[in-house]
Amino acid sequence: MSDQHSTISRRRILHGLGAVGLGGALSACVGPTITSRGSGTAAGGAAAQVLPAVKASPATGKVSFAHWRAEDKAVFDTLIATFVKANPQATVVQDISPSNDYQSTALQKIKGGTIGTAFVAFRGAQFVNMNKAGLYAGLGAQPFVDGYYAELIKAGQATSRAQMGLPYQLVFNMPIFNEDAFESAGVSSAPTDWDGFLSLCDRLKSKGLTPIAWPGGEPANSGQLINSMVMNNMPTDTAFADIEAGTRKVTDDWFLATLKQYQQLAPYFEANSTGTSSEPLQQLFASGKAGMLATGSFHIGAVRKLGAKFPVGLIAPITVSADKAKYEGIYNATFILGVNTAGSGQDAALKWLQFLSDPVNAGVYANGTSQHVTVKNVDYTNADLKHNAPWLAKKTLLAPRFQFNNLDIRAAVEAACVAVVGGTSPDQAAEKAQAVVDQKRK
């Protein structure tokens, strides 16, 4: 009897070992190649492949267009129909993943070439990592790249300045404001210095309005305000990148000054602002009870849907005196279009990008999604886009919060601003953030 048990037991062990061995063998096949310690960089990625100039012939084959903007699906469907009409031998399928899953799941499939012949990335860490891994095919030889505003597509360049991707969407990550409310408070033009901005907030408050609706309880949106708060305080335009590189600190004077200015703004935010999320604030703004919504132009469409009838403009706090102000506002160029080096069908994917780069088609996208685009000569018919189009020519800075490639470091720096509004002293908040920066830089 015991012998029988021992026989089964041995077999089971062998089965288990077999399974583990099989698993090990398979897992070794699907993962990265592991190099030994000190054998050189592991993050070098593949050498960039540069695509030859797009041919004039019609596109053929299937394009999988991987992105995260489910809200744009209908507009893309319209554009796809036009593309397929002009290229009957081609099809375009949208592979949409929620933005949360995009990094963790969809990108692995894009990397494997199973989806995303044409694909997109967020500006910042995601684009940097994908480019480093060699997923973006070089677009430098493509004539349609000239149809973009050169300044606005720098975010799609590799460190070598080669154009790898095309940032397509242009958003203004700075507060939006109710022009009627400003007018009723006797403010006819945007303040040009910090005192003027605080005075504006006072006037709005005296009218019974919440001067600034700020979603301090929602890191993704509360962090947008930091862009315009630091744009004129930063000693260099790359100060956030410098913090991550270790050449500047969160405890430096310029950032402490920014934190003190957050402290000054605290009475002008809605009560308990550190616990408020953006949805109720959009409602507050849409109902005319708040002067500004400190998120970005990407919320103009949302407040319109909530019934806002007043004209909506863009405003950035100028945190220095008028003569020292370098920038009037903030923009971000994201949704970086690219052609996948993995898999096949690159020619059709390139033609799809060329199609999207056409001003007429870019206009369909822009007006249909209420977002500006980085393509030149687009005719904006959407009233809000038209109204704020002059910002395309203003002196704006590429949103500095996305200079952080390490999201923990970015979160720590932005959390310092929230902590100050919540009552922590600027020095303490900065020190706490710097401690995280020091640990995460290692």
Binding site: I34, A42, L107, P219, V418
Partner: protein, 317 residues
């Protein structure tokens, strides 16, 4: 000539195949085709459990960023960093322990109390059980959105009610208060799952023989004494299940935290599962894999300690 009569032998019974006796031939050996039956299950198990686990272990000793075709072997560096110089991990662990303690204590007590009052199969009890069980069938995201509006400091239900009844001084920023935020989320988790745990307790309570209560009552035991000396020991196995399940659930309350706190959540709401997710989102697959292994070991250790504690307090459990 003599004839010897022999007793008539009974007719031979037809022989039927008999089951293998212990010690006899193994049916798997007799019928090799039987080996094929577990293959589909084995393939699924290896694909979805064994391979990811092995991959997790392999990645945990590398600096893989999730994109690059190569990764460098870093030995135990990731684990050393986790234990010695990662305040964010320690903060997440601390939040998680606070969260777990509140959830385990309150969810176990509330669900037991509800179960005691609703264990009879009367119409009203059954109806009330459905009411308390209802939140369990909601998705975590729906629950998060409901409570996001309940906790909103300006437009939320709680502060509005406090204001309306003249208790405005007790208003809170709730999730905006870094010292309280994790406890408010823990209360949401209790509300979310208390009905589910109540059902487990009801199943346990209904197994207790009524005779025990009858004889205790005859002996003059009070209601509290009956609860203390009969109900509590007899539901110990159910308590062990509830506590173990609740503990694991507390460590994996990922969706509720992200729903309430956004992605990524701020540090006052960061728990281990969201921290690991942030690692993957931050292209630190190797480091996040190491955090995952620590996380797994932690859950296993806590569950083991709990089971030992429950067994020690009630050897029959």
């Amino acid at each position: 000539m003599s004839t010897t009569l022999k007793p008539a032998s009974p007719p031979e019974a037809p022989t039927l195949p008999t089951p293998e006796k212990p010690g006899g031939r193994n049916p798997m050996a007799a019928h090799p085709a039987l080996w094929l039956f577990p293959v589909p299950a084995l393939v699924l198990y290896v694909t979805f459990f064994v391979i990811p686990t092995i991959q997790g272990v392999i990645y945990s000793v590398t600096d893989w960023d999730g994109f690059s075709p190569t990764a460098q072997f870093v030995g135990l560096d990731n684990f050393v960093t986790i234990f010695t110089s990662d305040d964010l991990f320690r903060n997440a662990l601390s939040n998680n322990i606070k969260f777990m303690l509140v959830v385990v204590v309150f969810q176990t007590i509330f669900s037991l109390v509800l179960a005691v009052f609703l264990s009879k199969n009367s119409k009203s009890s059954v109806a009330l059980r459905s009411v308390f069980f209802f939140p369990t069938i909601l998705s975590s995201v729906s629950v998060a959105f409901i409570w996001k509006f309940v906790y909103d400091p300006n437009f939320g239900l709680i502060n509005s009610v406090l204001e309306a009844v003249g208790l405005g001084r007790f208003q809170s920023a709730f999730l905006g208060n870094d010292n309280q935020a994790i406890y408010w989320v823990a209360l949401t988790q209790v509300w979310f799952h208390v009905g589910q745990m109540m059902i487990i307790f009801i199943a346990g309570l209904q197994q207790i023989p009524q005779e025990l209560y009858e004889s205790a009552e005859t002996d003059g035991a009070s209601r509290w004494q009956q609860f203390r000396h009969i109900t509590l020991p007899m539901v110990a196995p159910a308590t062990a299940i509830v506590m173990a399940y609740t503990t694991v659930q507390s460590f994996k309350a990922f969706d509720l935290i992200l729903g309430l706190g956004g992605n990524p959540p701020k540090s006052s709401l960061d728990i281990l599962s969201t921290r690991i997710y942030s690692g993957f989102a931050n292209s630190q697959f190797g480091y996040a894999a190491a955090e995952s292994l620590v996380f797994m070991a932690l859950i296993a250790a806590i569950t083991w300690i709990q089971r030992r504690a429950v067994k020690a307090s009630n050897p029959d459990a």
